[in-house]
Symmetry: C2
Subunit: 346 residues, 2 copies
DNA sequence: CCGTTTTCCAAAAACGTTTTTGAATATGGC
DNA sequence: GCCATATTCAAAAACGTTTTTGGAAAACGG
């Protein structure tokens, strides 16, 4: 028999405070043309009533959502790559400091990513977009650029005129390979992350350049592309062993591949480290605790995330750009980067 | 000098098709009072123009967002617990099938969770809410119940009249403990997840009940609460060893704790398994590959997620409920659940 | 062939804000 | 004391949809 439970609206605050709706709105949104005393009263009443502006209404009228969407891709979430998660933390921090909210959305597969982006952008569900796993020719980037919608990517593309942050995978590939060469290795395999991603190519170039600089030619049989499920690091190791192409060291594109590779080595009775040097990338939590400790590269993801967030905010505030940031990874020496022994069985 | 680039609106579709705005809306939303031929034409034009309804406008008018928010807590994202991530996959699948979108939002700490929920609900940013890490007395649950806002939790509270899905941690605790007792152990420690969470208490009860049923009293010195950073599983093991309370087996509330415990054991020269039986919970990806293989419990998270999603949809569709689902975990026997040897040094 | 129902569409109201515009009052300079 | 300006607020328009309401034309029943 009661009221039909209307939504608590700005009108209620206006009535309760004896002011007009417009004044209440301006008071709550921090405009300067409202007396301090009035603002106080409005805030008090709003607080007491528990009023908050309807998101739909305010974003319809003001044409901004004060929200940034980060799109994550499924393959990574499945195999629980900490990469994006830790990144998100920094992003959120940076956005929040400027009054923006972060909202995360999952994409089941690459084909749907584009659709998700279109939907988010065309329906006006966010003011800016963040995503990773960029490809050299990335249709998402092209579409967003054409529309002039604000976005920052984690990773580069072939186009250079958009905002991005990225880890210097070229340097990682170069440093890892050089480290292994210095340890006396000459037959160094590279278990690559999927080459469709730009960063995989960067790592590959670093790897090849390091070999070349030291007078070692690269051998296609030692370069194997790995995937999350189809062909894992273990599969690649099996391939290397059974084919007898005889590497004595392996540089893996990421730790998941390295971990998987280590597992296969155990099956073959090969000790990661002493029998087969190994360097990974990402420094996943278990890397330090597996076997002798996996030598790998650590990235300051918190910093990367913060930069990502700040770049987004800058763009949203009208800063033209393009802003681009390349950050270095740090080589974490542990137990698996051992010298070439030569005295191995076989 | 061109047009000021107005947003593409439903009006444009109406003009292009020669119909009224209302008819276009009804056509696009699948109402039955529009001729098939007309609907086709509208859809074609909308498609061609690339029109999509403004989210703000449509949700303002229709009072629904067709969106469900899942709130994840930071501690878990930091330590990259795959738990919620895999869960999310199932949730998304179930929601999407019913035309709902899933949006994820991070909470930096528990204090902000409540604020985030209030903001999402009061500003009308979503139609339903999903979250985990429930506590026996959970203010989030109470507040949402009082407001009558649709939500489903992952985990139970002391109130029984709301929707939830949960893993039967009582049974896990009971089974793990019983397994260790059957192996001859009588001094069985329990490294607990934080007791503020309901599920930790369930596991503890299962542990204690199993002991009691087999005539073993529980020893407070063997029950140690572990946290993600402050007091880890390693710290707890150190405490157990240095205090000399002499357990021969440990049941850990989750695998992260177990992994950390194993690390400490190595420091003490204790072999997980032979010297100290160990059972974890969650079956994180590395569990199978660490040492002898960690014996643990696997939960069908995909199924749990799907149920969670379907429950949410049911609630959104007006199904009264309450719906509650308890799912069993499966004991995965690997290498660390070994019999009591008795012949250990000291 | 007339009255009734069904089918299909359009006009207008409504959603809850923010922004624009304007106006009353207070303040300042001289 | 008067004009110009600053301060503070209110009325009304606008945002882009969906929903409500109504009405014309078509189909139907007898």
């Amino acid at each position: 028999m009661g009221e039909p439970a209307r939504r608590l609206g700005i009108r209620d605050v206006a009535e309760q405070t004896g002011l007009s709706v417009s004044t209440v709105s301006r008071a709550l949104n921090g405009y300067s043309d409202v007396k301090l005393e009035t603002r106080r009263k409005v805030e008090a009443v709003a607080q007491q009533l528990g009023y908050r502006a309807s998101f739909a209404a305010s974003s319809l009228r003001s044409k901004q959502t004060k929200t940034v969407t980060f799109m994550v891709s499924k393959p990574w979430t499945k195999f629980v790559d900490p990469f994006f998660l830790i990144l998100l933390d920094g992003v959120e921090l940076a956005l929040q400091a400027q009054g923006y909210a972060l909202q995360i959305i999952m994409a089941r597969q690459y084909e749907t990513e584009f659709e998700i982006i279109r939907n988010s952008v065309e329906r006006g569900r966010c003011d800016g977009l963040l995503f990773g796993r960029t490809r050299p020719e990335d249709e998402r980037v092209e579409w967003l650029q054409a529309r002039g919608f604000p976005f920052v990517t984690v990773g580069r593309t072939d186009k250079s005129d958009h905002d991005w942050v990225d880890v210097d995978h070229y340097k990682i590939g170069y440093q890892a390979t050089e480290r292994l060469i210095r340890l006396g290795h000459t037959r160094i395999a590279h278990l690559m992350t999927p080459l469709r991603y730009t960063y995989s190519k960067h790592a590959l170039h670093g790897y090849r350049d390091a070999l070349e600089v030291h007078g070692i030619g690269h051998d296609p049989a030692l370069e194997i592309e790995c995937y999350v499920s189809r062909k894992t690091g273990a599969d690649a190791v099996t391939e290397l062993i059974t084919r007898g192409v005889g590497p004595t060291a392996i540089f893996c594109g990421n730790d998941v591949i390295a971990l998987s590779a280590m597992e296969a080595m155990h099956k073959f009775g090969i000790r990661p480290g002493p029998d087969m040097a190994l360097i990974g990338c990402d420094d996943v939590p278990v890397a330090a605790h597996v076997g002798l400790g996996l030598t790998t590269f650590r990235q300051d993801l918190d910093a990367l995330g913060m930069r990502l967030g700040r770049m987004m905010v800058a763009k949203l505030n009208g800063d033209a750009g393009p802003h681009q940031q390349l950050i270095d990874a740090e080589l974490i020496l542990r137990g698996t980067d051992l010298p070439q022994t030569g005295g191995r069985a076989e």
